[in-house]
């Protein structure tokens, strides 16, 4: 099987800091691929390179076998790659609905929408409310609240809901449950499985090993800016995975081919 | 009956206009006229002047005294005021066309420039052919006083001015360059330094007014050339005349803003009382309040007064 999204020999340096060091990457169709690694290992840098948010210094990226060069996250989105960044990428002063539909607003039908290009606020608010309810984010009292007035977890929930609602080819989630409560985390995990069931592959970065081992089909272990190995969660224990990523155990050579 | 009048000056950051205002206020108090005064933010700010004219109309004033920042741009508003039954008198700067105002009390700025130009030429004698002249003007927007004084000076000195409606298009090699001063000491010094860097042997400096002359002098002093350069200027303010006396400025053309203002207030009073409008100076289309050359080294063929007499007549 061909990988749907893959990368070869990506490099990215920030001044004296090396974030990506000849990093390879492969995402297979229909799978949930977890990316794990220490803080600062370069996981976020990797997915930023994949989603067009940064330009790697060198290396190639392929989507469905085609070499691509996203010059901005918009290109990636247009190609169907939807991302929740670790920083969430929301406009703090705008409302929840505005943020969810940023860049793909719904216009009113008929004259008002076509000629006067008026937004269909009721529709956008209704959909936003639905998506949030699906995630169980029910302490949000006012859908027109500015995002900056949300709690940390509520904000993250909004970002995840946005990606899940719109991703068509690949969904990338950078620590989507970090600030979420038990209930909301569970919903996100359920949602991830739902999305995969729709046939859309997912990249999940997480530090939460139980979550990773629960949902992932394969685990990409990232260490010091490169892919150390790819393991199957059925073949290894959480303890092994942590040992690989912290360098306590050396990586299984054969796993690279997986 | 209660007569109220407005005085609108270009910008009251310039002592010239402040003295004009004081003159007008003194005269108004004497005649029992209520005077309100307005000014633009900077020289050239005619929008604020338009707003001021409108305010005067709303306020029910009998007449307006105005020194226009843009002599043509203001005309429509002036017309509006005249239509509303006010008498409008231009002070210091004639409007374009001059009959846009009911009367004009002004200095002949071209003549003021011409006087210092002639004096400088006479003073230098044969050397005038080798003069190296620095021209310190007001602003790149070239308001009309700026142009009139500059071109008057060059005409008086005997230099072809090309288009008399703008400065800077002359080709005479004796002109080292034009620079702008904003009419203050700081600008005067900087402009002088710039031109000195271009040619350190400058020996004649025209300045738009006396503060910029003082600044130019500081620049010359800092390189020890203050004694072999002649500075000429226009205005005749008291510090300027004192600078003539001290030898900082060679000669300056003195104008009489207090008189303009006093005459203006009298005219409005007269008009309110009897409906009479003032008559212009015979042979000119405005009432010339006169200009005199002040210098302590008079030159042949140019009429002048000395600094002592200048001090008696000076305005601030």
């Amino acid at each position: 099987m061909e990988p749907i999204l893959s990368a070869r020999a990506l490099n990215k340096r920030y001044g004296r800091v090396t974030a990506l060091d000849n990093c390879d990457f492969d995402l297979m169709p229909g799978e949930i691929l977890a990316v794990i690694g220490d803080n600062g290992a370069g996981k976020s840098s990797l997915i930023k390179a994949l989603s067009g948010a940064i330009r790697p210094d060198s290396g190639d990226i392929f989507l469905e076998g085609q070499k691509i060069e996203f010059s901005s996250p918009i290109d990636a989105r247009l190609a169907g790659v939807e991302t929740v960044y670790q920083t969430l990428a929301m406009s703090p002063a705008l409302s929840i609905a505005d943020n969810m539909f940023m860049g793909r607003e719904i216009r009113k039908p008929g004259f008002m929408g076509k000629v006067l290009r008026q937004l269909d606020r009721p529709a956008m608010e209704r959909i936003a409310r639905e998506k949030l309810s699906e995630l169980g984010l029910m302490t949000i009292q006012n859908i027109n609240q500015a995002v900056e007035t949300l709690s940390g977890g509520q904000r993250q929930g909004v970002a995840v809901a946005r990606a899940a609602a719109f991703g068509s080819k690949v969904i990338i989630l950078d620590e989507p449950t970090a600030a979420l409560g038990v209930k909301e985390s569970r919903r996100v995990l359920d949602l991830i499985q739902d999305v995969r069931a729709r046939g859309i592959p997912i990249i999940l970065i997480s530090h939460n090993m139980p979550h990773v081992f629960e949902v992932a089909n394969r685990i990409h272990v990232h260490r010091l800016g490169r892919r150390l190995c790819v393991i199957d969660p059925k073949d290894y224990t959480m303890s092994d995975a942590v040992a690989f990523m912290t360098g306590a155990k050396s990586a299984p050579g054969a796993a690279m081919a997986a | 009956q209660d007569v109220s009048a407005c005085l609108i000056t270009k910008a009251d950051t310039n002592p010239f206009f402040v003295k004009m205002k004081e003159g007008a206020e003194a005269k108004a108090a004497e005649l029992g006229v209520t005077l309100k005064s307005y000014a633009g933010k900077i020289d050239g700010d005619h929008e604020t002047q338009v707003a001021a004219i409108e305010t005067c109309i709303a306020d029910g004033a009998k007449g307006i005294l105005i020194t226009a920042s843009d002599t043509s741009a203001i005309v429509q508003s002036v017309q509006q005021a005249r239509d509303a039954g006010l008498v409008v008198i231009a002070l210091d700067t004639p409007l374009t066309p001059i009959d846009a105002a009911d009367a004009t009390f002004a200095t002949d700025n071209f003549l003021a420039g011409e006087l210092i130009g002639k004096w400088a030429a006479a003073k230098m004698g044969a050397e005038a052919a080798n003069a190296k002249i620095a021209m310190l003007d007001l602003a790149v927007s070239q308001p009309s006083v700026d142009v009139l004084r500059d071109q008057g000076f060059l005409t008086g000195f005997g230099i072809d001015v090309a288009d008399p409606n703008k400065w800077g298009d002359e080709t005479d090699p004796r002109i080292v360059g034009h620079d702008v001063t904003a009419g203050n000491e700081e600008g005067g010094r900087k402009a002088m330094e710039n031109l000195l860097a271009k040619d350190p042997m400058i020996n004649l400096v025209y300045t738009i007014n006396e503060p910029s002359a003082a600044g130019a002098y500081e620049a010359l002093k800092s390189i020890g050339r203050e004694n072999d350069v002649t500075i000429v200027s226009v205005d005749g303010g008291c510090p300027g005349v004192a600078n003539v006396k001290d030898g900082v400025i060679g000669a300056t053309s003195q104008q009489y803003p207090l008189q303009m203002a006093a005459l203006g207030v009298e005219a409005i009073k007269a008009w309110a009382d009897s409906g009479a409008k003032p008559e212009p100076t015979p042979g000119k289309d405005f009432f010339d309040t006169g200009v005199k050359l002040v210098t302590d080294t008079p030159a042949d063929g140019v009429e002048s007064i000395d600094s002592a007499e200048g001090t008696n007549l000076c305005w601030g």
Binding site: I74, R104, Q141, V182, D190 | G44, S141, D163
Partner: protein, 352 residues
């Protein structure tokens, strides 16, 4: 496939109702809420308050329809430029070149008609195009070359102003000539009377412009994107806004509006003068900031700017009518600007 952890077993019987707190909507909380959802309300209150104070002090001199419409006429230019400035400031930029674009456009409209002999309509179109083009240069340098807006527009300000002086030869085109030969240039100076109040077309243009922009900013995707770019440009880019295109379009629109301001300016002063508009940039920024738009971008509404411009207009006319002399007027306007914003801040705090 699902393999919930120990903790999550507690979720099985969770209730599904939407959590809700008690809401007592008192009058006060209604007012507070109104103030929160309409940031422009605060400058409006300040405006009404200052009209009342000056009215009480000056009586009918101030409360005449002449004086009231005069204020509108006097703020129309600053207000139109302020509308352009608002757009730019909402993107966290600043446009120092607004005044220069305005005056250069008006000079082009005038000179193309009189020097080049173009039909006035064509000359006006040229002026509008030039204004938009200068805006495009601003936007391109800011969005593409990524230079700070302050520096770009400072540079363009100087360039446009110098071009204006060089091209016009510092010549003013007189009102009489325009009136007889190209009255279209003075179009916005025409006026009609409505119950004793005189409205110039320029004033109408100003009001319509503000309403249209308020609609666009609030109810179209483009408007929301303008806010997003000003709020956090990185976040906006990551969440799918073409920030570069938004920035360039904002500066182009700003240039176009300023060019219109140049046309309105001809109507107001009758003539075409290259020395106009020297303080339009600082005055428009003042109106914007008094109107409650944040200089850091992304917050505020254009209606606020509208009231902000009127506040300044009311203060200036009121003080002039009270006979304060020029320096005292400046001093008091300085104090009142601070006071207006302080009151605004105070109302927001009380209602927070």
């Amino acid at each position: 496939m699902s393999n919930p952890s120990e903790a999550e077993q507690g979720l099985t019987r969770r209730s599904e109702s939407i959590a809700s707190f008690d809401h007592q909507m008192t009058l006060l909380s209604r007012v507070q809420h109104a103030l929160h959802s309409n940031p422009a309300l605060v400058p409006l209150i300040v405006l009404v308050f200052s009209v009342i104070v000056f009215g009480a002090l000056l009586g009918t001199k101030f409360f005449s329809s002449f004086a009231m419409t005069l204020i509108l006429q006097q703020v129309a230019i600053v207000g139109i430029v302020g509308a352009a400035q608002s757009l730019v400031i909402l993107t966290a930029g600043i446009d120092l070149s607004v005044g220069a674009i305005m005056v250069l456009s008006s000079v082009i409209m005038g000179q193309f008609t009189f020097r080049l002999g173009m039909p006035p309509a064509v000359a006006i179109a040229c002026g509008l195009v030039v204004g938009t083009f200068i805006g495009f240069v601003n936007g391109w340098l800011i969005a593409r070359v990524k230079l700070p807006p302050f520096i770009v527009t400072l540079g363009i300000w100087q360039i446009a102003l110098a071009t204006n002086f060089l091209y016009s030869g510092n010549e003013t085109i007189r009102a009489q000539e325009i009136e007889t030969q190209a009255p279209l240039l003075q179009f916005f100076g025409k006026s009609f009377t409505l119950g004793g109040a005189v409205f110039t077309y320029g004033v109408i243009f100003f009001i319509v412009l503000v309403l249209v922009l308020a609609y666009v900013l609030r109810h179209t995707a483009w408007g929301r994107h303008v806010y997003a770019v000003g709020d956090d440009p990185d976040a906006a880019a990551l969440s799918g806004v073409n920030t570069k295109r938004i920035l360039i379009s904002v500066y182009m629109l700003s240039g176009l509006i300023c060019a219109f301001a140049g046309w309105v300016l001809i109507g107001r002063i009758g003539s075409v003068s290259p020395t106009s508009g020297q303080s339009a940039n600082i005055e428009s920024i003042t109106a914007v900031v008094i109107g409650g738009i944040s200089l850091f971008g992304g917050r505020g509404s254009i209606m606020g700017m509208f009231f902000g411009a009127l506040i300044v207009g009311v203060f200036s006319l009121g003080l002039r009518l009270m006979g304060a002399d020029a320096q005292w007027t400046y001093l008091l306007i300085g104090a009142l600007i601070i006071a207006a914003v302080a009151i605004d801040q105070w109302i927001r705090k009380v209602s927070a």
